[in-house]
Symmetry: D2
Subunit: 137 residues, 4 copies
């Protein structure tokens, strides 16, 4: 879809459930952030780690900012695709971008981004450990 | 509404949001269990405790069974009321019943129940501590 | 898992997202009803129809009753399986049963059921049309 | 909290439920957009209209863009306040800003914004009808 999409990236396929829709008959706007999280988890997983392991080792990636542009609605039973890429990385933060498309990947339904801090179990910002940073080289 | 509703009990008022509805234009069926939780929390709070304190003291009340009958739909922007009562208590479990009504409390929208175990932080079933049991006398 | 599970039936695989969990670290109890809906949609789809088409033809299957027993928790990032079967059918209602298992299908996490009315666009109960009933023979 | 917050504006009080939290023990990030919708509905209601009536008259305000900065977590059972204001209005769009605070209104938990198109029942952009625009003068 997007030749300039940052790497590493991955695609995740998702079926829209009835519970994700609202009275307008389309996916409720807050649920796109939930879909972004599914994409983000899949990206980390596709690089050989699980976010569950990140937490087990005492690190957390709370969201500091999220943003979404809604371009076209998604409806019940539709297959959609979530494209997730790493857009940036500093000593203590990570940023992801997202693109959600229809089944044929020829219509972009939404575009968004999230920024995450890296914190320890006490919620204190810490430097990204190498075993996370190295995944995204 | 219901003269035989068990005590202690309490009422909680709730405004239906757009995000709670689905493509049928009514509150999505799973969200009623979420409303039951709001009612249950309010009942515990109305008796002078918070479920947060229960957890801080190392006790948890995971749901073992939940059930709901859907009698009439609730729509966006409606005021609804959640009536919650304690229906039973054993050495290691508690049961609650729920009734959700329209704004005027003359139409019952849903009726349900939940059963809860009492467990410690390790998830092991334990006897209900007195400071919980005594609340519901 | 269950030799007596009713047919027709189908399996759907689901990855637990972070947004489906709660502060206890496990899938929030109301979300199981959302998973049941995913299983139910998949069963209808596996028989050659989509629930979306059912609605486009003017029929709706609102839930009249739902029930769930919670046997073991599901955690973030887990693969789980949703087994859905048709357990009953009358002139104007349909019933489904559900079993949710861990990734290896050797632990049952939850069991549940839903009963549905068949109504028209005005919400009036109607006889199940043959093109739905025949699917489940 | 914020002397430059745009008017008209309103406050809505909300109790954090268990179902709104995630495994980190805090309100899941997507749920803030759900809270923004509660605030937005309340603002429209406080001005003498209901968004339900807007839809009944054939107008819809789908979200075109949403954004949220997460400053401090909200936990189960907390009372929080949602401050919503109209930040802009063009011939065919409306923008809102949001601030979510703790119970004492001395800590800002989140800040965000949404932009909305005005469309008819066919999803076509239309000019804001006077009876909506006049509310926000």
């Amino acid at each position: 879809m997007n030749p300039s999409f940052p790497t590493p990236s991955c695609w995740l396929t998702h079926r829209v459930s009835y519970g994700e829709t609202d009275a307008m008959g389309v996916v409720y706007y807050a649920n796109y952030l939930h879909l972004f999280e599914r994409g983000r988890s899949e990206l980390i997983r596709s690089l050989g780690l699980s976010y569950q392991v990140v937490e087990e080792r005492g690190f957390f990636l709370p969201v500091r900012e999220a943003q979404c542009r809604y371009l076209a609605p998604a409806r019940y039973d539709e297959i959609i695709h979530i494209h997730t890429g790493l857009s940036g990385k500093t000593r203590a933060s990570m940023s992801f971008v997202y693109e959600i498309t229809n089944a044929d990947k020829n219509i972009t339904l939404a575009r968004g981004s999230t920024q995450h801090a890296v914190v320890n179990a006490q919620g204190k910002p810490v430097r990204i450990p190498d075993w996370i940073a190295d995944l995204f080289c």
